[in-house]
C-alpha cells in the first residue's frame, strides 16, 4: 500500500462519510420524532435526484438551483405525509406498521419514476463533473466537495435549529416525552408534522448532492436504504450528531478497507458494524439515552 493511495483513500472516505451523514440525517430524525422507520427515505432521495436531473435537462441550469423548488416541495410533502398517513397509524403498532406503509410509498415512488422517466440510467452532465484539485498529492473532486459542503451546511443548520430555536425545543420535547410536551402546551401533532417535513427537506438536499456525482435509476434506492439504516443504528437512533459521526466512521472505514480487501468485502463492513453495535451497544455508539427506551 503506497502513501499517496492511503492519503487518497482517506480523502475519499471523508467525502463519502459526509455524503452518508447528509443522506442519513432525515432517517434518524423521523425515528427520533415519532418512532417511524422510514423505508421510503432513500426513494425520496432518488426522487430529488431525478427532479434535479429533470430541472437541468429542461432549463440547462445548474442542478443545485433546483433546491429552490425541491426543498419547500419536500417539506410540504413531508408535513402532508405525516398528517394524512403516518398519524393514522395506531400508536401501539406504529413502528412496525410504518415499515409497511413507507415500504409501499417507496414502491409507488419507484414505479412513478419508472413510468415518467423509464428505467434508463441517467446522469447529469456537468461541465465540472471531472474537475478536481490537488492537496498534498491527493485529488479532491469538486462535485464531491460540493456534496460535502451541502452536508456540513445542512447538518449544522439542523443542529442549530434543534438546539437553539423554540421550534427545536418543542421538537425535542416531543421526541423525549410526548405527553409531557402536550401538558406544557406544545401542539405535538403540528410539531411532529414539521419534524417529518424537515426530514424530507434533508432528503431533497441529499438527493441533489447525490445527483451531482452518480448515475441514477428508479430502483437505485434499494442500494441505499440498507447502509443508511446501518448508519443510524450505529450512530444511535434519533441522534443527528451520532448519525453524522457514525457516517463519517463507516465511510472512512469502507474506503480504507477497500485497499486490502477489495470492493466485495469492504461492502460488508457496514453490516459487520451493524451486528457489532446490536450485540455490544444496542442503543448505538454515539446516540443519546433516547433509544434505550425502545
Amino acid at each position: 500500500m503506497s502513501g499517496p493511495l492511503l492519503l487518497q483513500s482517506l480523502v475519499l472516505g471523508v467525502l463519502l462519510g459526509g455524503l452518508y451523514a447528509l443522506l442519513a440525517a432525515g432517517l434518524t430524525l423521523y425515528f427520533g420524532v415519532m418512532r417511524v422507520v422510514m423505508i421510503a427515505h432513500s426513494a425520496f432521495l432518488i426522487l430529488a435526484a431525478y427532479l434535479a436531473w429533470f430541472f437541468t435537462r429542461e432549463t440547462g441550469l445548474d442542478p443545485l438551483l433546483s433546491l429552490v423548488f425541491t426543498v419547500p416541495l419536500f417539506f410540504g410533502a413531508g408535513v402532508l405525509m405525516q398528517r394524512l398517513l403516518i398519524s393514522r397509524l395506531r400508536p401501539a403498532t406504529l413502528t412496525m406498521m410504518s415499515v409497511l406503509l413507507t415500504f409501499s410509498i417507496a414502491l409507488v415512488i419507484e414505479g412513478t419514476l419508472g413510468f415518467a422517466f423509464s428505467g434508463t440510467h441517467r446522469r447529469i452532465r456537468l461541465p465540472y463533473s471531472g474537475a478536481h484539485f490537488e492537496l498534498f498529492g491527493a485529488s479532491i473532486a469538486v462535485v464531491k466537495l460540493i456534496g460535502f459542503g451541502l452536508a456540513g451546511f445542512s447538518l449544522v443548520a439542523l443542529y442549530l435549529l434543534l438546539k437553539k430555536t423554540r421550534f427545536g425545543q418543542a421538537l425535542r420535547a416531543t421526541m423525549q416525552h410526548k405527553d409531557a410536551a402536550q401538558l406544557v402546551g406544545i401542539n405535538t401533532d403540528r410539531v411532529a408534522g414539521y419534524g417529518f417535513g424537515l426530514g424530507l427537506a434533508t432528503a431533497a438536499i441529499g438527493g441533489t448532492a447525490l445527483s451531482l456525482d452518480s448515475t441514477i435509476y428508479p430502483s437505485l434506492h434499494w442500494h441505499w436504504i440498507g447502509p443508511l439504516m446501518a448508519v443510524i443504528v450505529v450512530g444511535g437512533l434519533g441522534s443527528v450528531p451520532g448519525a453524522a459521526i457514525a457516517a463519517m466512521a463507516l465511510g472512512l472505514g469502507q474506503s480504507l478497507l477497500q485497499i486490502p480487501l477489495g470492493t466485495t468485502w469492504a461492502q460488508t463492513f457496514f453490516y459487520v458494524a451493524l451486528f457489532a453495535t446490536l450485540m455490544l451497544r444496542p442503543q448505538g455508539f454515539f446516540g443519546g439515552r433516547l433509544a434505550q427506551r425502545f
Binding site: R123, R125, G130, K144, S214, L220, G262, Q267
Partner: protein, 409 residues
C-alpha cells in the same frame, strides 16, 4: 332417473363428438404437413415479463420482423412461417415447460431460442431431448457451451471471451515504443462482463502486457472512488472495464476526478448505449468498446434488414433485434439446404449436421461454429471518434482509424 339417463346420453354423445373432432383435426394436420402447403410453425419462449423483459421484447421484435420479412418474400420452402411465442416470465422452470409444451402438445416444426444464459441452458436441454435443432440469440457465457449440447448454435459473432480479439491483435502488433506495457482491469462480478475483460487479459498477459491492477466489484456497486484510486495509483498504460452500464459511467467519472489519463480505455457494453455520450459528454473521445452488431455494418443482408426493420418499427434495430433476426437467418439457411422443416428426428438431424459443416451469411457477418456451438468470430471494435462511435477494427470493415494514444478525458 330419467334425467340422469338423459345426462348420460348427452355425455356419451359429446365425448364421441370430441373424439371424432380430435381424429379429424389430427388427420388434417398430418395431411397438411405432407402436402407442404401448411405454414411452418416455429415455437419460441421469451422472457416478456420479469427481469429480462426489456431485452426479451427486443428479441421478440426481431423474430417478428424476420417472420414478416420472410412471409413477404415468398416464405420458407414456399411455405409461410408462423411464430408461436410464449412468455416464460424470465423463469428457468417455466422456460423448460414452455418448450416441452411447444414440441409435445403444439407440435411445432422448429424452435428458436430464448434470451440469456440462465434460460438458454434449460431450454436447450429440452430441445436436445427431442432431437430438435436449437439456435439461440443470446447466451454468450462459457457455461452454455460446456453442457455437452450438440444441437445448440449461438447466433452471434463471438462468445464473451473473444469479444476483444481484434483489439488484442492490434495491441500486440504495435511497435515497441507505442505498445502499452501495463494494464489495469476493473470487472463486474458477472459471467458475461468478466468473460469479455478476462478474455482480453489472458491474451495481453500472454503477449507480455503486465497486469498492475485487477479489481472485481459486485453488480450493485455505485461508488467507484476507491476502485478508481487503486487504478490511478497503478498508473497503468491501458484501462479495461468488464462493465455493463452505470458502473462504466461512474468509474470513468471517478477516474477523471483523480486525474488518471490512460493511453487506451476500453469498456464492454456501456459505450454503445445511446445514453452514454449524454452522461459523459465530450470526454467520450477515444473510448473503445466491442460490439456484436451495428446497423452501419455493410454485410450483404444487413442493409435489407435495417431498412425493413426501420420501416416496420420506426427506429433502427439494436443488438437484441439483430441477434433474433440472425437466428432466423441461420435456421432458414439450414432449412433451405436440408429441404425440410418438420419435427421428425431425421429432418432435425439433417439441419444440425448442415450447420456444423457450413458457414452462414448473416446480418452480423458470416458465422460458423465449433462442435459445442461457439461461433468462431470476434466482435467489431468501436471507438468514439469526433464525438461519434465508429468501427475501427478489423481493418476490412473499419469506418475510421483507431486513435492511439487516446485524447485526455
Amino acid at each position: 332417473m330419467k334425467l340422469s339417463n338423459g345426462l348420460r346420453l348427452g355425455a356419451l354423445l359429446s365425448t364421441a363428438a370430441l373424439v371424432l373432432t380430435g381424429c379429424l383435426s389430427g388427420n388434417s394436420g398430418q395431411g397438411g404437413g405432407e402436402g407442404g402447403e401448411d405454414p411452418i410453425r416455429i415455437g419460441i419462449s421469451l422472457p416478456l415479463t420479469g427481469d429480462f423483459s426489456e431485452p426479451g421484447k427486443g428479441v421478440r421484435r426481431g423474430y417478428e420482423a424476420w417472420a414478416g420479412y420472410v412471409n413477404a418474400n415468398g416464405g420458407l420452402l414456399g411455405r409461410q412461417v408462423e411464430l408461436t411465442i410464449l412468455d416464460d416470465q424470465s423463469n428457468a422452470d417455466r422456460v423448460a415447460a414452455d418448450y416441452e409444451k411447444l414440441i409435445n402438445q403444439d407440435g411445432v416444426d422448429l424452435v428458436f431460442g430464448p434470451f440469456s444464459t440462465r434460460l438458454v441452458v434449460p431450454a436447450a436441454q429440452v430441445a436436445e431431448d427431442y432431437g430438435f435443432l436449437f439456435v439461440e440469440p443470446a447466451g454468450a457465457a462459457e457455461e452454455v457451451f460446456t453442457q455437452g449440447f450438440d444441437n445448440l448454435f449461438y447466433a452471434a459473432p463471438a462468445v464473451a471471451n473473444d469479444h476483444y480479439n481484434h483489439l488484442a491483435e492490434e495491441i500486440l502488433a504495435m511497435p515497441a515504443g507505442e505498445r502499452p506495457e501495463t494494464a489495469a482491469y476493473a470487472v463486474m462480478d458477472d459471467p458475461f462482463a468478466q468473460g469479455t475483460a478476462y478474455g482480453l487479459k489472458e491474451k495481453l498477459e500472454a503477449g507480455g502486457v503486465r497486469t498492475v491492477a485487477d479489481e472485481v466489484y459486485p453488480p450493485n456497486t455505485t461508488d467507484f472512488g476507491s476502485i478508481a484510486a487503486k487504478i490511478a495509483d497503478s498508473n497503468a498504460d491501458i484501462m479495461v472495464g468488464g462493465t455493463q452500464y452505470q458502473d462504466a459511467v461512474n468509474l470513468i467519472v471517478s477516474l477523471r476526478q483523480l486525474g488518471y489519463q490512460p493511453d487506451m480505455a476500453a469498456f464492454s457494453t456501456a459505450p454503445t448505449n445511446p445514453e452514454f455520450p449524454k452522461a459523459i459528454g465530450q470526454q467520450t473521445e477515444g473510448i473503445i468498446s466491442p460490439t456484436g452488431y451495428t446497423p452501419e455494418a455493410d454485410y450483404p443482408s444487413n442493409k435489407e434488414f435495417v431498412d425493413y426493420y426501420t420501416e416496420q418499427n420506426g427506429a433502427p434495430p439494436n443488438e437484441d433485434e439483430a441477434n433474433a433476426w440472425t437466428t432466423g437467418q441461420v435456421v432458414a439457411a439450414a432449412v433451405e439446404a436440408a429441404g425440410c422443416a418438420d419435427p421428425a428426428p431425421e429432418c432435425q438431424g439433417k439441419l444440425i449436421d448442415w450447420l456444423h459443416n457450413n458457414e452462414v451469411d448473416t446480418v452480423v457477418g458470416p458465422l460458423s461454429w465449433d462442435e459445442a456451438g461457439r461461433p468462431q468470430g470476434a466482435h467489431l471494435i468501436q471507438q468514439y471518434v469526433d464525438g461519434e462511435i465508429k468501427i475501427v477494427l478489423p481493418e476490412d470493415t473499419k469506418e475510421a482509424d483507431l486513435i492511439h494514444p487516446k485524447p485526455k478525458w
